[in-house]
Amino acid sequence: MLRTAYQTRIVFLGIFLATGFILLVGRLRVVQIERHHELNKKAKAKYTSRVKSVGIRGNIYDGTRIPSPNLLASSKVAYNLLAEPGKMGSRREEVIQKLSRLLAETDKKTLERRFYSGSQEVVVQNNVDPILVSRIQQMKLPGLRYVESSVRFYPKDSLLCHVLGYTTHEGSGASGVERVYDKNLQPQEGYLLYERSRRAHKVTNLDEQKPLDGKDIHLTVLEPIQSIVEDELDRLMKEVKPKACYAIMANPKTGAIMALAQRPHFNPNDRNTMKPQNYNPRFLVDVYDPGSTMKAISLAGVLEHNKNIGLGTPVYCENGMWYYGGRPLRDAGHNYKNLRFWEVIQKSSNIGTAKLALTIKRRQYDVLRKFGFGERTGINLGVESKGILWPEKYWSKLSYTRLPIGQGISVTPLQMVQAYGALANKGRMMQLHLVDKIYDPILDKSKYTHPIVKNMEVISPEAAAEMVEALKTVTKKGGTATQAAVPGYEVAGKTGTAQKVIPAVKDANGKVIQKAYYSDTVHVSSFIGFVPADDPEFVLYVVCDEPPYKFRYGGKCAAPYFKRISEQTLSFLNVQPTIKDKVSRK
C-alpha cells in the first residue's frame, strides 16, 4: 500500500510540477513574444534619452580686412542658475540671502516667491556671468545647479546696432542681420541618443551628432567709418536737436554699405534701452517726400532724354511764382528770373525744375522707375518699404510738376542712396549690399558677395557726367550747401528740404475732417552727395527728421555734418585731394 501511494503520489507531484513548468513557458511566451513589442515600446520611451548639445552662434565682423576684422557681435559662455529648494533643508533662507546679494538682476522678494512656490526646481537667474558663477560656487550653497548656456554679446555696445539687430533670450535673431542671417549664424544642434539606466547612467550610445558652430558674417560696413558717422550723428543730435537723424554711406562702385547709423539708438547689451522709437530701422521703413534731393534725379532724366537741353540751357523762373494746372508753385525764399540749367540745380529752383521736367513729360515715370523708386532696394535687412510711386495713369496734371521736385513721391533713404550711387557711378546702378562674406568655420570656406550690377545704364554716362558737373556747384559759392564743401575735394551733392505731409484726420465714422497737407513748420531736411565728385569713394546721405525751424534747410542742418563726416572718412581712406588749382566754374 505504501509503495503504491508512494508511486502514485510521486507521479502526481511530478506531473503537477511538470504542468507548472509548462505553464511558466506559456507565460514566458506571452510576455516575451506576444507582448514584446507593446512592452518594449513602453520601455523604450523611458530608457531612451536624447541630450541636446548646442554649438556656438556665429560671430559678426565688420569689413576691415587689414589687419583683421573687428568683432561686432559674439556669443559668450554664461550659466543658467537653477535651484532645488527641497535639497536646501534649513539653509534655504541663507541661500536666498546670499544669492540676492550677489545677483544684481534678482531681488530677494522674487527669490523668496520662487523658492517657496513648491516647485521642485526653480530658475534663479538665466545667463549668469561665469565669474559670478565661480563666486557662487565658492560659497558651497546646497541645491544649486548650473546649466551652460550662451549669451549674445556686442563688444562695441550700440555701434551699428540697427544693422546688427539683437537676439531673443533663446538666442535666435530678432532683428537686423541677426534675424535675416539667422539661418547662417545659428549653430546646428547636435544630439546624443542613448539608452539610459534607472540612475541615468549611459548604457549604450545609439546615435550621436556633434553640434556644428554657426557661420560668421562679415559685413561691408567698416567699423572706423561707422564710428566717425555715429560720432557726428551724436554731435548733430546735440547741436541741432532733431527728432531723429540718420546717415547712410555706400560705395557707389560696388554697392557696399560702408556705414549706416541712426539716432536715437539703443544698446543691444542693455535691454532697457530697447524702445520701439530706438530700434525701428528708419532707413528701411521710413517713407517721406524727399524734396529737392529728387531734382537731381529728374533733371538727370531731362539731360538724358531731351538732347536739346544742356547745362547752359536758360529757363525763365517766373519771378518765384508760377501757376500751372491751376495751382501756384513757389521758389522758396527767392524770386529768380532767368536761370541756367546748372543754376536751377545750384539754387534748387522749384519752378525751373518743374519747367525743365515738363519737357520730358511722358518719360518722367520711366526715369523714376529706372532710378529704383517705387521698389525695394533688396538690401536684405528685414522688412523694407517700397516707398510710394504711383503709376503714371494715376498722375494728375500737377504731378508732372510736383514729382520732379520731390513732392507726391515717397522714398526711403536707401532708395535715395541707390539713385545717387547710379549718378556717381556714371549711370550704372549697383545692388546695395551689407554682407561681404559668410565664413563657414567647419568647411573653412568663405562665400563672398560679389558686387552685382542692378542696372547697366540708368542714364548714359554723358548725362551722368553733366549732372555731376551741375551738382558740384551746389557746394560752391552761390549754392544751397556751401557748408558741405570739403576743402581739397570736389563735392557733388544736393540739399533737400521737404515739408512733411501731415496725415489726414478722420472722425469716428471715417469721414475726413482735415485733409492731408504739407506742413509749413515740420520738415525732413537732408543732404546727399558724393566725394570726390569725379571718382567718388562714397555716397553719403545725411537726413534730419523734424529739425527745429531755424535749422529747416538741408544746407544748414545736414550739410555741415556731411562735410565733417566726409573729411574724416576721406582722410581715413587716404584719398588724395582732387583740387590742386582752385578752379571754379565761374
Binding site: L2, R9, L13, A18, I22, V25, R27, N40, V203
Partner: protein, 395 residues
C-alpha cells in the same frame, strides 16, 4: 604516467552526467551573473566569486558522492542539530541585511546558514519518518512527531524572518510527508491552523502585505511594491525571441532590482530571449522528471524518499523563482539554484548534487553486494515496512 592516466580515468568517471550538467548549468549561470552585473561598480567581482564558490562546490560534491549515504543517515541527527544551532547563532550574531538576520559576514564572503540546512533538513525528515514508521503505529502521532521535529527550523526561519526559505522548507516537509503516504487531511488541517499565523504575519510585517497588494495591481504601485514586478515584466519582454545577447541586456543592467540573484531568470531571459528561457525551464523540468523516475526505481525506500526530497527541494525553488520572475507569484526572494549569484546557495545546491550522486552510487553498491549473495530475494525488510505502513494508514 600510468598513475596519471588512472587518475584521469577515475576523475572522468567521478563526473557522472548529473554533476557535469550541474557544472555546465552553473557556468552558464556565471555568464548570466556577469551579464547582470556589467554595470555594477566592480563587475568582475561577482562572476569571479561565483566561479570560486563553484570550484569549492564541485569539490564538496565529489567528496560527498564518494561517501556512502548510510554514513550520512548515521550522522543525520547530529547534522540536523548542528543546522539548528547555526540558525540560532545567526539570529544572535548574524548581521542584518534588509531587516533580515540571515547572514554571517566575513571580510571576504558571507554565509547564509539556512541554505546549508536545506539538504540536511530534507535528509532528516526522510530519515526520521522512516524511523517513525518503524516505531510508531499511529499515523497521527507520527505526523505530530515529524512536525515537532521540523518545527525548530521553521520557527527559527520565521524569526529571521526569511519567509521565502520558510515557504520552501514547509513545502518540502509537506511533499515528503505526502509522498510517503501521509494523510492529506492532516496537511489540510495544519494549513487551516496556520491561517491566523499568516494573518498575524501580514499584520506584523507590513512589507509582506504591500508586496501582495503590489502583486495584485503593479501599475498602481509602480513606485513602490509594484516596481519590481513591472521591471521583471519589461526585462523579460525586452529579450524578445532571440534575446539581446549577454552583456547587452539593457533593462536588466539598468533597471531591474536584484538582477544577479532574485531576478536572475528575467535577466537571463533578456539576454537569451525566449529560446534561452525555454531551454532553462526544459532543463529544470527534465532533470526533475528524470530524478523522479529514478526515485521510483530505487530498491531502497529511504534512498528513494531522500532522492525525491532533495530533487524536489531544488526544483520547487526553481519553480518558485521562475514563477516570481514571470510574475505569477509575488516576489519572495528565492534564488534560482545553480544560476543565481550567491555562494551559500550554490554550495548547498552542489551538496544536494553530491548527496544525489552518493544515493545513486550507494544503491548500486548495495545491489552489487546483494548480487554477490543472492539476487532473487532483494528486500525482505522493506516488504515488512510496506505492511506496517499500510496497516498504520488504515487506522
Amino acid at each position: 604516467m600510468i598513475q596519471l592516466v588512472r587518475f584521469l580515468k577515475y576523475a572522468l568517471r567521478s563526473f557522472c552526467p548529473i554533476l557535469l550538467s550541474a557544472i555546465l548549468l552553473s557556468l552558464w549561470g556565471c555568464l548570466a551573473i556577469y551579464n547582470a552585473s556589467v554595470n555594477f561598480p566592480n563587475p568582475e567581482d561577482y562572476s569571479t566569486k561565483q566561479i570560486t564558490w563553484l570550484i569549492g562546490g564541485v569539490l564538496v560534491a565529489l567528496i560527498i558522492s564518494k561517501i556512502h549515504i548510510k554514513r550520512f543517515f548515521e550522522l543525520i541527527p547530529w547534522l540536523y542539530g548542528f543546522g539548528i544551532f547555526t540558525l540560532i547563532a545567526v539570529i544572535f550574531w548574524g548581521q542584518p541585511v534588509n531587516h533580515m538576520r540571515g547572514w554571517f559576514h566575513t571580510d571576504y564572503f558571507s554565509i547564509q546558514p539556512s541554505e546549508f540546512c536545506k539538504p540536511f533538513f530534507c535528509l532528516f525528515i526522510c530519515w526520521y519518518y522512516r524511523y517513525l514508521v518503524d516505531e510508531e503505529t499511529v499515523e497521527f502521532k507520527r505526523y505530530l512527531k515529524l512536525g515537532l521535529a521540523s518545527l525548530p527550523v521553521l520557527v527559527l526561519l520565521a524569526m529571521q524572518p526569511d519567509f521565502g526559505t520558510l515557504f520552501i522548507f514547509t513545502l518540502c516537509f509537506a511533499a515528503v510527508y505526502w509522498t510517503h503516504g501521509g494523510k492529506t487531511k492532516y496537511l489540510g488541517w495544519t494549513a487551516a491552523g496556520l491561517l491566523p499565523v499568516l494573518i498575524y504575519v501580514l499584520y506584523r510585517y507590513p512589507y509582506v502585505y504591500r508586496r501582495l497588494i503590489g502583486f495584485w495591481s503593479p501599475e498602481e504601485h509602480a513606485h513602490g511594491a509594484g516596481f519590481h514586478l513591472l521591471q521583471l515584466e519589461r526585462t523579460i519582454a525586452s529579450g524578445g525571441f532571440w534575446g539581446r545577447s549577454f552583456g547587452k541586456g539593457l533593462w536588466s543592467q539598468g533597471y531591474l532590482p536584484l538582477t544577479h540573484n532574485d531576478s536572475i531568470f528575467a535577466s537571463f531571459c533578456e539576454a537569451l530571449g525566449f529560446v534561452g528561457g525555454f531551454l532553462l525551464i526544459v532543463i529544470f523540468a527534465g532533470a526533475l522528471l528524470l530524478a523522479f523516475r529514478k526515485c521510483q526505481k530505487m530498491s531502497n525506500d529511504l534512498y528513494g524518499y531522500s532522492l525525491f526530497a532533495l530533487v524536489f527541494c531544488l526544483s520547487i525553488q526553481a519553480f518558485i523563482h521562475i514563477s516570481v520572475n514571470v510574475q505569477i507569484l509575488p516576489p519572495t526572494g528565492i534564488t534560482l539554484p545553480f544560476i543565481s549569484y550567491g555562494g551559500s546557495s550554490l554550495l548547498s545546491s552542489f551538496i544536494i548534487v553530491g548527496l544525489c550522486k552518493s544515493i545513486i552510487a550507494s544503491e548500486k553498491k548495495d545491489l552489487e553486494l546483494l548480487d554477490g549473495d543472492e539476487s532473487s530475494e532483494v528486500k525482505p525488510l522493506e516488504e515488512d515496512v510496506d505492511l506496517g505502513e499500510s496497516s498504520s494508514s488504515e487506522h
